[in-house]
Symmetry: C2
Subunit: 275 residues, 2 copies
């Protein structure tokens, strides 16, 4: 999906919500967990209930890999289900991959050709030749980790170089020379609202994927205040707050309600910021 | 596998060779590629031919993931084959994972419980809580990316902080507070032989996984000169130079010969350095 289509979807649906499909069989309702094909059936119900309110889905690969081949199979069918039934959804493989060039090329092939998702999250530590193999696929995106929302983000991402520039800013500055704003986004954690002002100085036009709203904390208003640009430029993710809103038989209805609430907040914020 | 057993295996086999199982169906011999179950059958033949000469195997996940569920299945059977037939081999999942705490925990479960490998490579960018979920499994190891051998390693890993310390050294220093030398190793690229002296100043007793010998360049003598310690402390990987030594019907024999040559060099170096 290209940037123009993504932005059109955001304007039409009045939502920049991404639903994280972090499907954990220990947390899903018993009547699904004990039935056949639990991961896929849970995902399908969540997707059907939330699709009107979001513009993106983000399965985190860890949850699927933890079931080996069977988990990959459920992931493949989940992605195919979204693509068939909701082709306007932007699909992000939250995989945080990154390896030497010829190996990253294989990851790119598996995510962009085999799974055919729109975007993959990539870790920056190994530098340019670990990232560029993911570029050059038409309408596909790299979402590079810049500033994450976890406690450990303070271990390395804030280290200042001899000029006083923190590492996460250097990651954005350098990587913006590798690709344009139409094929690279950044992961920027939301627990640090005012940091978005710093991010916008180095990434004025980039889309930002914001993981930390909902169960991980973080204020939607703050993110929008400092982070929103003229074509929105934000995808805000919520996982647990939506998909585990209930673990009873009403889980899908409740997930839809939570997604709808977030969409209403987003609609108001889009109206007041973009007019 | 604990450190003592790993070192005993190195001494007994006079080898610190790790064979990288980067199995690419486009590069394997036609008679295997066109037959049934090509990835597993190729791996099995390579393993049978090289096992006498190495102490470790390192499948890179990218190669298996590029075939989705079928690739994961071949990986699972490859690991089971090694564990059943060559239980003295140290198995490294070269996955370069790393995510927020509860997600890394799932990756740890899938690699240490489901696949039951001895070690996993982990990317450091997200900091402590992305790494610690992999720790605390008895006889299991984290191998943290410190200094990689690719060109892009220069983009971020050498950035000096305000005290002049390069990032890869800070990664080693900080992470050595999270785990001891008996459950954390470091990836250190071999194309920069003299860098091993710097590494040994910050990681005097750590095992180092050295990816860059063979097709990626790098001199075994240099690595040993600057990097070997009293219980060896090195695992040197070769992938393409061994597994693609021939793409004819003699591929396994030729792989065994290349592994045997490297083992002979390693035996001589172990003799002269450890006595």
């Amino acid at each position: 999906m290209n940037r123009q289509t993504l932005v059109e979807n955001i304007r039409r649906k009045k939502s920049f919500l991404c639903v994280g499909l972090d499907t954990d069989p220990l947390k899903i309702p018993a009547h699904i967990a004990n039935g056949p094909d639990p991961i896929f059936n849970f995902n399908r119900a969540i997707i059907d209930a939330t699709a009107p309110y979001c513009v993106a889905y983000k399965p985190n690969l860890a949850f699927y890999e933890s079931f080996g081949a069977a988990g990959w199979d459920a992931l493949e069918r989940t992605i195919a289900y979204i693509k068939t039934n909701y082709p306007d959804q932007f699909i992000i493989a939250d995989a945080k991959r990154g390896d030497i060039g010829n190996t990253s090329k294989l990851y790119a092939r598996s995510f962009f050709e085999h799974l055919d998702v729109d975007a993959i999250t990539v870790a920056p530590y190994m530098g340019e030749d670990s990232v560029t193999p993911f570029l050059g696929y038409p309408e596909k995106w790299v979402i590079l980790l810049a500033l994450t929302s976890n406690k450990g983000s303070h271990d390395f991402q804030f280290i200042r170089d001899e000029q006083g520039t923190p590492l996460f800013e250097t990651v954005i500055r350098k990587s913006s020379q590798w690709a344009g704003d139409d094929e690279m986004m950044y992961v920027v954690g939301a627990t640090q609202g005012s940091m978005f002002a710093d991010i916008r100085r180095v990434a004025p036009r980039s889309f930002l994927l914001v993981p930390g709203v909902g169960a991980q904390g973080g204020s939607l208003e703050e993110v929008v205040k400092y982070g929103m640009i003229s074509d929105c430029g934000l995808l805000v993710n919520s996982s647990r707050g939506i998909i585990y809103a209930s673990n009873g038989e009403d889980f899908a209805t409740r997930a839809g309600e939570e997604a709808s609430k977030l969409r209403d907040q987003m609609a108001a914020l889009l109206d007041s910021h973009l007019g």
